[in-house]
Subunit: 242 residues, 2 copies
């Protein structure tokens, strides 16, 4: 009996996912684009840091500055870059992806253009929606974060980081696109390297920023579909322009 109940539950879940997938495809109307349903994760990093530090700045939901390991003896080792957990792991850049997949259960998707469908946008801040994206021979980390920079006014921040060095990141351009209700919002930028801190990128506001009202206009039944595309940059000597 229990077995049949579980089977029925699994079938219902599959129908729900299929329905969300269909909705996202309809929104973007781009045949061949992979739609990925991403469930929210309540960040444990902030919670742990808050308990430990209990600083005034973190009271308002502002994440603390990056806690890079104090003494990394081998300069080729990098700390764990997972935005969700304070993790003591460190290793070579080449094995960061497998660490994120295996230890932190972050999914990875293939394809130059995908649709990231974040569910349950109504959940209280701080909340993260995270996937890895593999294309053009590299892996990228996409982070959508709901956060209260100003108390009582949650905002959504979306950015893409290359799991690679800053000089490798300069070779790419990423685009995030929202499209619904006769409105379209596009953000294009060079991805940051995962060696920089995702928290500081978001607190600097150097990413796609959405107020709650705009997020509601772009979301459909509590889910926000973000079209993602990654291309190689035309201008490689980016530092000269900066």
């Amino acid at each position: 009996m229990l077995f049949f109940t579980q089977c029925f539950g699994a079938v219902l879940d599959l129908i729900h996912l299929r329905f969300q997938h269909y909705k996202a495809k309809r929104v973007f109307s781009a045949a061949g684009q992979l739609v990925c349903v991403v469930n929210p994760t309540h960040s444990l990093k902030y919670a742990a840091t808050r308990c430990a530090a209990a600083q005034a700045s973190t009271e308002q939901g502002i994440p603390p500055p990056c806690h890079h390991h104090e003494a990394v003896h081998d300069p080729q080792l990098v700390p764990c870059t997972c935005p969700l957990f304070s993790c003591p792991w460190e290793g070579h850049l080449e094995v960061v992806v497998s660490h994120l997949r295996q230890t932190h259960r972050i999914s990875i998707l293939q394809g130059a253009e995908i649709v990231f469908l974040a569910t349950d946008m109504h959940l209280p801040a701080p909340t993260d929606w995270i996937i890895m994206h593999s294309c053009l021979g590299h892996q990228f980390l996409l982070v959508l974060r709901k956060q209260e920079k100003y108390e009582g006014h949650p905002q959504f921040f979306a950015t893409m980081m290359l799991i690679g060095t800053p000089s490798q990141a300069n070779n790419f351009t990423y685009r995030l696109e929202l499209n619904r209700n006769q409105r379209r919002l596009k953000w294009e930028a060079t991805p940051r390297s995962i060696l920089e801190c995702v928290d500081s990128v978001i607190s600097d506001g150097d990413c796609l920023v959405l107020n709650t009202s705009l997020a509601q206009l772009f979301s459909d039944n509590g889910s926000l579909a973000i079209g993602i595309a990654i291309t190689t940059s035309k201008v490689h000597s980016s530092e000269a322009e900066m």
Copy 2:
């Protein structure tokens, strides 16, 4: 002597404007686009309303709801829609443009694609940058507003309104584009009718919204260049989709 000093001042102003024009052209690198330097105006409407009402909501820089005239006897008459002043004028929709030009000195520009160069972005909120834009046989009002929705955190809001009816507005799409420092932000939407209230469009956040940090990334030496394009909508039966 005074004459020569004035002449020298005028020449300096011209050189400064020419320099800003050149910079904006360089940013957008689109030959043939008209660059319009728009100086800020400190809105007198908010100041007057604040003095009169002194309500808690306006203390934080939130503009009051639209003050449409309480009794418009002729339904074909519309009140003055200037976002800057509380003006007792009312008249037919066809003469709103000439009223805005003559009484409120708002400039008008021709061309399907123009660059709106807002100067002195550092000025304190509330501040407005306003022009009218004539293209495709209609006139549009572009409003860029610096406002503190959250006390101590000014934001920039940009929107375009058609000087016409809501059903006429549904025939158009406007695009605002920021492009600098290897970042690009595009907002596309159907313009609202000037018969709706620009204050409520901005307080709803249904427009291009920029945090101060993003505005700084996109601005050059205190000026923000916004590329503007207006096209006729592909989908005319917009209400069906809504």
